[in-house]
């Protein structure tokens, strides 16, 4: 097909505004997927995505569309995640497109991530097509939302399609807008090859499969290609597109989006953001690619069964293949043995990685509490980056400690402004600004320590605004704070995996809350276990887990044997998910105790 009839686009939206549902309707309307194959939210291929109703990984499909004027088009739809943790992935998929469909909920209007995504799309010079979804809702206010889009984003929304993705209403208008307003890909098939790798995964039979957008030239089976950043060279064995099933092709033309593989066994050779060119007559310059996002949150990842250490390394390597923002390096903990310090974009990202490792690779994990990266300035003038609280040098050697701050934008209906400001204040926030979005909603700007956001900020924000407030944040740099390491002692022994860095003024209540939480999580054992929190060697909180005095089946006669044995087997299963720390058996969840804070107590 002629390049001028190709359209590459993404759908961007705040979480829950109906992005995946719209994608489903588009697949149906273009008859890409037969009705009988249609599953809810087809592009969310991971079980996890469907269960949680979130899109985590991108996915690219080719659609054939005959416009109302009779012209045939090829569309490539590149799905994007909606959660703030995955902003990076959004920017990856946007780099492969010329246009973005911006979905806005007709009842909720613009939310924090609507804006964040719009800015990403603008950074990538994309044509943005606003679409107003959920107009079937009784609370829908399409005109108000249109006005909001014009006022807040500055886009002309007067002709925005008014749709209901759920009911399939006016979805065709979206496709028409795409073919008429999104530009066709530029570039030429005769130029030297430049293909942007925007995603990849590992297939046990074929090796690495890379998703590419061909920006210049074309790519054929049998071509000798080079990954420009890694320098690795391979012969292309297969190329193809997805619809969403894999369809093999002989060639991917300029402007197209598809996949390729070349029996690439070395995961390190394929980096997302790299440019592929031909070994012969290759391009001189790589494409701009994208900046690698630095993880915001770090935690220790340990296999419960220490024999699975190597399996865990394998799993992490494979996950990193299409998740460049996942970082890890080996570390050891006195309490937990051998594991990895891993960096994530946020807590959801961390959760997702944990669940994928446990489900897809069947490795039971212990995660330590997440920590941000602190900068510890030592008396000798040097600086240490601390991503693991237990590595903080002793107090005497430290001059001061800096922590990362974010600029947070919180959009909320006016009613909750008071509660939200109180929350921000409590989380050591610095008030910056407050602007009206419209008559009923405000955008509150605060500078907050990232470390506080990592804890329970998001949950609290949701609960103090009945779920209406939305949050977006970006890192703005480091500031000095009164920080210190808090150690947690079990049975008198400091457990390195439980150490955390806290603000001194909040240390005592936090220490108490952690001790109390651990008391509820660690089952009673045969001896009494003191649980203590210490700051600079001084105990600031303590509670005791009383000893287990009695745990015996009341009665056990002939008919009870199999049932009672099952009870024992169940307990044994639970025990498998515990780690012996010194003489104390500690369950997996306990290492996250610092997360489930309740400062109000």
């Amino acid at each position: 097909m002629d390049q001028k009839y190709i359209r590459n686009f993404s759908i961007i939206a705040h979480i829950d505004h109906g992005k995946s549902t719209l994608a489903d309707r588009i697949l149906e309307l273009t008859e890409t997927v037969e009705a009988r194959e249609m599953k809810e939210q087809l592009l969310d291929t991971m079980d996890l995505e469907r269960e949680r109703g979130i899109t985590i990984k991108l996915n690219a499909v080719q659609l054939k569309y005959t416009a109302l004027d009779g012209q045939n088009y090829i569309l490539h739809l590149i799905d994007t995640p909606g959660h703030v943790d995955f902003t990076y992935e959004v920017s990856r998929s946007l780099a492969a497109c010329e246009g973005a469909v911006l979905v806005v909920d007709a009842a909720q209007g613009i939310e924090a991530q609507t804006l964040a995504n719009v800015y990403l799309a603008l950074d990538n010079d994309l044509e943005i097509l606003p679409v107003i979804n959920k107009i079937d809702l009784p609370s829908a206010q399409p005109d108000v939302v249109k006005q909001e889009i014009e006022d807040v984003i500055g886009l002309d929304a007067q002709n925005a399609p008014l749709i209901s993705a759920k009911n399939g209403l006016n979805v065709r208008d979206v496709l028409e807008a795409i073919v008429h307003h999104v530009p066709a890909p530029s570039g030429s098939s005769t130029n030297p090859l430049q293909a942007l790798v925007f995603d990849s995964f590992y297939d046990a039979y074929r090796g690495v499969v890379a998703f590419v957008r061909v920006k210049e030239g074309s790519i054929r089976v049998g071509d000798h290609i080079r990954f420009m950043a890694s320098g690795a060279e391979y012969e292309v064995l297969e190329v193809g597109i997805r619809n969403p099933k894999e369809i093999k092709r002989d060639v991917l033309h300029c402007g197209e989006v598809g996949w390729l593989c070349g029996s690439i066994k070395s995961i390190q050779d394929v980096r997302v953001g790299d440019t592929i060119t031909h070994v012969q007559n290759g391009a001189k310059e790589p494409l701009a690619g994208y900046q690698v996002m630095n993880p915001m949150v770090y935690c220790g990842l340990y296999p419960i069964d220490s024999a699975k250490y190597n399996d865990l390394r394998d799993a992490l390597e494979k996950l990193r293949l299409n998740d460049a923002s996942l970082q890890f390096e080996a570390e050891t903990s006195q309490a937990l043995g051998f594991g990895f310090r891993c960096g994530f974009l946020g807590l959801l990202h961390m959760d997702v990685v944990q669940e994928r490792i446990e489900r897809e690779y069947k490795i039971d994990l212990i995660l330590t509490a997440p920590s941000v990266v602190y900068h510890a300035y030592l008396s000798d003038g040097s600086m240490m980056k601390i991503d693991n609280p237990s590595m903080l040098p002793e107090v005497q050697r430290i001059d001061h400690i800096e922590e990362p701050f974010v600029k947070a934008s919180i959009m909320t209906p006016n009613d909750y402004v008071g509660a939200i400001m109180e929350l921000c204040q409590k989380k050591r926030g610095i008030y910056k600004d407050m602007v009206y979005i419209d008559n009923n909603r405000m955008d509150i700007i605060y500078e907050l320590p990232l470390g506080e956001i990592v804890y329970d900020f998001f949950d609290r924000l949701k609960s103090c605004s009945k779920g209406y407030a939305s949050l977006n944040y970006e890192l703005i740099g480091y500031q000095t704070s009164k920080l210190a390491k808090m150690d947690i002692l079990l049975n008198g022994e400091s457990v390195d995996a439980l150490s955390l860095i806290v603000h001194k003024d909040f240390a005592a209540p936090r220490g108490r809350a952690i001790c109390e939480k651990l008391k509820t999580l660690i089952p009673r054992q045969q001896f009494e276990i003191p649980v203590q929190a210490a700051l600079g060697g001084k105990i600031i909180a303590r509670t005791d887990i009383k000893s287990l005095r009695k745990n015996v089946l009341a009665k056990c006669y002939g008919g009870d044997i199999s049932r009672k044995k099952k009870l024992l087997e169940k307990q044994k299963e639970g025990k498998k998910r515990m780690k012996a720390v010194g003489s104390v058996e500690v369950p997996q969840e306990a290492f996250m105790a610092v997360l489930s804070m309740d400062d109000d107590k």
Binding site: R524, Q526, K546, L548, R549, K550, N551, V552, L553, A554, K555, C556, Y557, G558, G559, I561, S562, K564, K565, L567, L568, E569, Q571, K572, K575
Partner: protein, 360 residues
């Protein structure tokens, strides 16, 4: 040595904590059930049992003629047994039922009391109070049955230590030779479970238990099994078969048996039992399973497991088979191993569940 257990799945009223196979008594249903028992007994061809235990449910809620009918069916086994027990509730165990039991060779009565506190009896929905129970025990004793066991429960909702002490004291004053003490377990499928009744505080439960052990020792009761106490060596011989992990037949709807390395569980559905028979769910036990179960049951006894008996049965040394678990718990002071036996210490007995997990 083998035992025979017969399950009577009827009760006049279902207690709030109970999740056994049981249903409200109805005469017509019990008649049909009796026919099915006859058929199952015929089919089983039991020849070799030394103990008989008629449990439930509440066997005493059968009508006089049904009870006699049941005993008649069991006569061949009762005749040859050294111990024949029936479970009864004081409120339904009339003099004529008692006489029939005596006549057919019942020589041991297990009576459900659970509590002597009227408020607690109301909560667990049981009728028989202290007066009825002490009266029944007197009648049984006069009838010439001197092996009498009583069941009591602790950890009942809002039960106090004072109430528990009073119950123990009253029980010890009765003409009984045996006591079974059970901590309340909230079973999911009991009324308590459905009402989301919370279990007793574990420390209080331990206090109740330790109080009972101490008190009963003074009263001359030997604490021979986790929940069982006997005076003058009046151990429950039938139950010892379970704890020694020997074979036993189970007859009736909801009964289980273990014969020649096979465990079977009869249907728990009364309608199925009456119309189609026992329909046992059979499971061949592996040696691994049998060894573990022998440990699980044997360690409940104060005397513990006889190592020679274990070796004779499984041709493996108990110590070698469970070396890690034994060493760990001997070191922790939970288990004691000598030349002949492996048994729990006092502290170990209280946390047997935790010990057994390490034997799995």
């Amino acid at each position: 040595m083998r035992g025979l257990y017969v399950h009577v799945p009827f009760c006049d009223h279902i207690c709030a904590y109970c999740d056994f196979t049981r249903c409200g008594y109805a005469k017509g249903l019990a008649d049909k059930w009796l026919d099915a028992i006859e058929a199952e007994l015929k089919q089983r061809q039991i020849t070799d049992c030394e103990t008989v235990y008629i449990g439930g449910g509440t066997p005493s809620c059968l009508s006089l003629s049904q009870l006699e009918g049941l005993l008649k069916l069991l006569r061949p086994y009762l005749k040859n047994s050294t111990e024949a027990t029936i479970e009864v509730n004081a409120d339904s165990f009339s003099d004529d039922k008692l006489a029939v039991c005596k006549e057919y060779g019942i020589n041991r009565i297990s009576m459900g009391a659970q509590s002597f506190q009227s408020d607690l009896l109301k909560v667990i929905e049981r009728k028989a109070d202290y007066d009825m129970i002490s009266d029944a025990i007197e009648r049984i004793y006069r009838q010439g049955i001197h092996d009498i066991s009583l069941d009591l429960m602790y950890g009942l909702p809002n039960q106090t230590m004072a109430q528990w002490k009073e119950d123990l004291n009253k029980a010890a004053g009765l003409a009984i030779t045996h006591l079974s003490l059970y901590a309340l377990t909230i079973e999911e499928h009991s009324r308590f479970g459905r009402a989301n009744i919370q279990p007793c505080d574990p420390d209080l439960e331990a206090d109740f238990y330790e109080e009972a052990i101490e008190f009963l020792k003074q009263q001359g009761f030997a604490h021979y099994e986790i929940s069982n106490f006997a005076k003058d060596a009046h151990y429950a011989k039938h139950n010892l078969i379970y704890w020694h992990y020997e074979d036993f037949y189970g007859i009736g709807c909801g009964a289980s048996g273990k014969i020649n390395h096979m465990r079977y569980d009869n249907t728990r559905n009364l309608h199925t039992y009456i119309t189609k028979g026992a329909c046992p769910d059979k499971h061949m036990l592996t040696k691994q399973e049998e060894m573990f179960e022998a440990v699980m049951m044997g360690l409940r006894l104060r005397e513990g497991i006889n190592k020679q008996t274990f070796y004779n049965r499984f041709h493996e040394e108990l110590h070698m088979r469970y070396e890690q678990a034994i060493i760990k718990h001997v070191r922790l002071g939970n288990l004691i191993e000598d030349e002949k036996r492996l048994y729990t210490s006092y502290q170990g007995m209280l946390i047997l569940h935790d010990i057994l997990v390490d034997f799995l």
